[in-house]
C-alpha cells in the first residue's frame, strides 16, 4: 500500500501550486497521530466504563431489555457514588458521545497552530452544530 512509503511519492501536484500541505507531511501526521490517540483513549475509556456498568448490571440481575432509566444529569454523581449500574452506564455513554467532539476540538487547536484558518473555521462550525444539537434537544425536551 502506498501509505507505507512516506514521502516516496507526491502525485498531488496537479496545478494548484499554492498548497504544499497534503496529508503526507510529518507535521500533519503528528496531528493525525494525536487525534488517533485521543480517539483510542476516548473509546477505551468509554468501553471500560460500560464494562463496569455491565458487570454491575449482571450483579444486580438487571436484564438489558428491561427498559433502562432515562438520562438525568442530577442523579449521575449519586448513582456513581452508590455504584449503581445506571451511573457507570450513563457516564460511559456520555463518554462515547463526547469523544468525537473532543477529536474535533483537538483538530481545531492543531490546525490553528499550523495557521490553517480554513480548517479552523470548519472545525469550529462542526462544534457549533454539536452545541446546537444539545440546545435544540434540550429546548424540545421541556
Amino acid at each position: 500500500m502506498t501509505a507505507s512509503t512516506p514521502g516516496g511519492l507526491d502525485l498531488s501536484a496537479t496545478g494548484a501550486g499554492a498548497a504544499p500541505a497534503g496529508p503526507r507531511d510529518p507535521e500533519a501526521h503528528d496531528l493525525e497521530r494525536s487525534i488517533g490517540r485521543l480517539l483510542t483513549i476516548g473509546t477505551y475509556l468509554s468501553i471500560a466504563l460500560l464494562v463496569v456498568g455491565l458487570a454491575l448490571m449482571l450483579a444486580s440481575g438487571i436484564g438489558p431489555l428491561s427498559g433502562g432509566p432515562a438520562f438525568d444529569i442530577r442523579r449521575l454523581a449519586d448513582d456513581l457514588a452508590a455504584l449503581r449500574p445506571a451511573g457507570f452506564v450513563w457516564l460511559g455513554l456520555l463518554a462515547v458521545v463526547a469523544t468525537p467532539a473532543a477529536r474535533v476540538a483537538v483538530s481545531l487547536v492543531g490546525f490553528a497552530r499550523r495557521g490553517e484558518s480554513a480548517m479552523v473555521l470548519v472545525a469550529a462550525l462542526v462544534l457549533v452544530v454539536i452545541v446546537a444539537s444539545v440546545a435544540l434537544a434540550k429546548a424540545l425536551e421541556g
Binding site: 500500500m1 501509505a3 512516506p6 511519492l9 502525485l11 498531488s12 496537479t14 496545478g15 494548484a16 499554492a18 498548497a19 500541505a21 497534503g22 496529508p23 501526521h29 496531528l31 493525525e32 497521530r33 487525534i35 488517533g36 490517540r37 480517539l39 476516548g42 473509546t43 468509554s46 468501553i47 460500560l50 456498568g53 455491565l54 448490571m57 449482571l58 440481575g61 436484564g63 438489558p64 431489555l65 428491561s66 427498559g67 433502562g68 438520562f71 445506571a86 452506564v89 460511559g92 462515547v96 458521545v97 469523544t99 468525537p100 467532539a101 474535533v104 483538530s107 480554513a118 480548517m119 462542526v126 452544530v129 454539536i130 446546537a132 444539537s133 435544540l136 434537544a137 434540550k138 424540545l140
Partner: protein, 274 residues
C-alpha cells in the same frame, strides 16, 4: 444474563462485519435489536447510533495511524453530515414507526443491490474518471488542493457536501453510519480512492452519529441497559475487524452479506406490514 451475553455476541458479529465492509455496522445492529430482540425501531436506532460511534472510534485510530483516512476532507464533509444528522434526529421522533421500518427495508435492499453489483465489478482502487477536473477560482483551488491527498485530487466538493447532508439524515433516521452514502459520494463523485474513502467515511461517522445521538439521548431515545452490552460487543468486533481488513478477501464476505441483507429486508418488510 443470557440476553446480555447474546447482545454482546451479536454486537461482536455486527462490529466485525461493519468495520470490514466500512458500513459502521448499524445496518445489522438495528435488525439485530428489532427482529432479534423485539425492540421498537426508534429505540434500536438510538442504541445503534451509540454503537456506530464506538465502531468509528475503534477503527478510525487505526486508519489514521496508517495514514489512510483523509482528515481534512473528512472534517469538511462531516460539517454537512452533522447538519443532516441534527435535522434527521429531530425528524425521527415525528415519523411513525412503520415509515421508518419501510425506509429501513428499502435501505437494506439498496445496500444488497450495491454490494451485489460490486461483486461483479472489479475491486479497482483508482478514482474513476480522473480527467474530469473542475479547477475552481484562486482560494477555492487552494482549499480543494488541501483536501486532496497523494495521488488524487478531489473534485465536485459542492455535490459532496449535498451528498453528505443526505448521509447525515439517513444516519439519524436509521441508526447507520452512513458509509453507504458517503463512500460512493467520495469515490465516484469526488474522485477519492476507495480505500481512502472508506477510511475517511469511518472517521466521519463519529461526529455524524454524535449529533443525532445527543438528540436521542436528551429526548429519552437511548436505552442505556440495551446499549451497554451491544456497544461492548461492537467494540470488540470492530477492533478485530480493522486489524484484519487488509488480509481478507472481501468478495466472499460481500456475497455472504448480500444474502443476509436480503433476508433481513424481507423480515423488516413483514414487520412493517404486520
Amino acid at each position: 444474563m443470557i440476553d446480555s451475553l447474546l447482545l454482546v455476541g451479536g454486537g461482536i458479529a455486527t462490529g466485525l462485519f461493519g468495520s470490514l465492509l466500512g458500513l459502521g455496522g448499524g445496518i445489522l445492529i438495528v435488525p439485530l435489536l428489532t427482529l432479534g430482540f423485539g425492540m421498537p425501531l426508534l429505540a434500536a436506532v438510538g442504541v445503534s447510533l451509540i454503537c456506530v460511534i464506538v465502531t468509528s472510534g475503534a477503527s478510525a485510530a487505526v486508519f489514521l495511524e496508517r495514514r489512510v483516512a483523509n482528515l481534512r476532507l473528512g472534517m469538511t464533509l462531516e460539517l454537512f453530515t452533522a447538519c443532516g444528522a441534527l435535522v434527521g434526529g429531530l425528524v425521527a421522533f415525528l415519523l411513525p414507526e412503520t415509515v421508518l421500518e419501510l425506509l429501513f427495508a428499502a435501505l437494506l435492499v439498496y445496500v444488497a443491490a450495491t454490494m451485489a453489483r460490486g461483486l461483479r465489478g472489479s475491486s479497482d482502487d483508482s478514482p474513476t474518471d480522473a480527467t474530469a477536473e473542475s479547477a475552481g477560482t484562486g482560494s477555492d483551488a487552494g482549499f480543494v488542493a488541501r483536501l486532496s491527498g497523494p495521488g488524487y485530487r478531489v473534485r465536485n466538493v459542492g455535490l459532496g457536501a449535498v451528498g453528505s447532508v443526505g448521509a447525515g439524515v439517513a444516519s439519524a433516521l436509521l441508526g447507520i453510519g452512513g458509509g453507504l452514502v458517503k463512500v460512493p459520494v467520495m469515490h465516484v463523485l469526488m474522485g477519492v480512492p476507495l480505500r481512502v474513502a472508506t477510511a475517511t467515511s469511518n472517521l466521519m461517522i463519529g461526529i455524524t452519529a454524535s449529533a443525532s445521538a445527543i438528540v436521542y439521548l436528551l429526548r429519552g431515545g437511548i436505552d442505556p441497559y440495551a446499549a451497554t452490552p451491544t456497544a461492548i460487543g461492537v467494540f470488540l468486533g470492530a477492533s478485530v475487524g480493522s486489524r484484519v481488513v487488509h488480509r481478507i478477501d472481501l468478495r466472499v464476505l460481500r456475497g455472504l452479506f448480500v444474502a443476509i441483507l436480503l433476508y433481513t429486508a424481507w423480515r423488516m418488510l413483514q414487520r412493517a406490514i404486520a
